[in-house]
Subunit: 323 residues, 2 copies
């Protein structure tokens, strides 16, 4: 199996490449080669198979054609401009997230091969108001340009699959928590920050009420979703190719209780409640709980407690130790 | 008010232009000029205001810029390749229905004006399986390239409106019945054919069981939806800019009963039942009934009996007389 990963220098991309290297196989077959692409040079993992890195702009048709010309059996399409940037830079977001995805899908359409394409979509395809639990057949009316671009990419994936150009699956990721690295300016940053910073002995700000409910999955689960999607039987998925992923829905208060159970009250005392009206205005319109019935039936698995999400972070990012 | 109509040579476009000429106003204000555009020369109606006709390809950015450069206050965007053609000619469908719409919306985005844009979408954005009554918040997973292109256009309209580039409304038309003119090769053609042909003294074939349920609105209602959308308060619509239009859901059997009431049993005897497995395979996956709650609350009105739909056809197309 030749595997292509776009967005391979990103957090999920790196972890996916490492997992593929560790497993040595995907969709039940041995991996013969791994092609990694991103706008900045992706790091190749230590692997028993050939790894190649490519750097460039995905919306450049010639570049995309060259990647697809290498005839991948599985394409993990993770590349994209993040939500904040897609909102602040209209042209960049549409060029990369919409035109880039279309260029990739068109290169596949015009190639003789029909690869499995796993596309990392987002719950940003949904916009409020929401029911308490969002059903699988809830309409997708995004409230951001990022969500719009993801939705358009999903629509292309579904039609190109129906027409037999590729064998696509879109997976709508919930909030990935705990994100390693530094806080960023995303309004969702605090969901990871209130766990990550105290565990590292640093103060963290909580800008919203503890009653806020949000669905989370670990970076390990996100990679698990991608790997599982790569091996699914297309017939079993049917014509609705984009799936809401499972996750663990908890309140911020429950997140903090889990942190206290695992790391103690001293760590938790590093969380400072500092209400931020601007963040709250955004967060209160975000989706809370997902039914994710189809995904669960198709075998996608996420954590079942927020404790596990914290433990995975400690294991993967902190060498198993709390500061 | 300067008004632009794309797809103005089509059946709905022509009827819309005639209605605008007759009313002399739209959205409560007098019309000063009407610009009509299509791939074939649109006929200008007799009107008290200036009418201009333009012929060309909507996916040509320069052409679209010139039309938007005339600074319309209201744009009725009806242009598009029909479903059968979008399915048989992949490139044409995406070029006209997706790229053409995007070119139009981008020209508006780059212009100083923020016009009301009324976009004729379609219930083809939905794909089965369906619940008995399709709620307003049912997900949009098309089963055709045409439906995909309409969905993508809707997503752009919603995002461009949210960002303040335009003030868009998408209206999802049900089956328009009775379509005047000749039968075409669309699988849905018989819904109009079984009424239109017998009324003209000609035989018609019914390829599906009489139990098939379908939602219909007359061409007059379709024009009414467009006119009503042009005058709606954007605030009242909210962020979900695309609406399922109301219609009258009837079985084919009820269609035929209505025809008998209006035109007698001799006319009805011209309908020949001739089951067609290929047509049935398509039709059985089509949406049947729509809730259309939001549209009704916003004042969109359709016929309430199929009898009325037949009477409108006789009035508008047959000079009030049955052959």
């Amino acid at each position: 199996m030749r595997v292509l990963v776009t967005g391979a220098a990103g957090m999920i991309g790196r972890k996916l490449a490492e997992r593929l290297a560790r497993d040595g196989k995907v969709a039940g077959k041995p991996i013969s080669a791994l092609d990694l692409h991103d706008i900045v040079a992706p790091l190749a993992p230590d692997a028993s198979f050939e790894c190649s890195s490519f750097t460039g702009d995905l919306s450049d048709a010639a570049q995309v054609s060259a990647l697809i010309g290498r005839s991948p059996d599985i394409v993990f399409h993770l590349a994209g401009v993040v939500s904040g940037e897609a909102e602040s830079n209209f042209d960049l977001g549409y060029r990369v997230n919409m035109d880039g995805t279309r260029a990739l899908f068109d290169a596949i359409r015009l190639s003789p091969k029909v690869p499995r394409v796993v596309f990392s979509s987002s719950i940003a395809v949904f916009g409020g108001p929401f029911p308490d639990i969002i059903p699988d057949d809830f309409h997708t009316v995004p409230l951001s340009s990022y969500g719009t671009q993801k939705l358009i990419s999903e629509a292309l994936l579904t039609d190109y699959t129906r027409r037999g150009f590729m064998d696509g699956i879109g997976i709508r990721l919930p909030t990935i928590c705990v994100r390693p690295g530094k806080a960023n300016k995303a309004a969702s940053s605090f969901f990871s920050g209130i766990i990550r910073e105290p565990l590292a002995g640093m103060e963290a700000v909580l800008p919203v009420p503890r009653s806020v409910v949000h669905t989370n999955a670990s970076p390990r689960s996100a990679v698990g979703f991608l790997i599982h999607a790569a091996g699914l039987d297309g017939e079993a998925i049917g014509p609705r190719r984009c799936l809401n992923m499972p996750g663990i829905a908890v309140t911020v208060g429950e997140q903090i209780e889990a942190l206290e159970r695992i790391a103690g009250s001293k760590v938790v005392s590093l969380i400072r409640e500092e209400p931020d009206e601007a963040v709250w205005a955004l967060v209160k319109n975000w989706p809370t709980r997902f039914e994710a019935k189809r995904a669960r039936e198709l075998g996608f698995v996420a954590e079942t407690s927020f404790d596990d999400i914290i433990k995975i972070h400690i294991e993967e990012e902190l060498g198993g130790r709390v500061a």
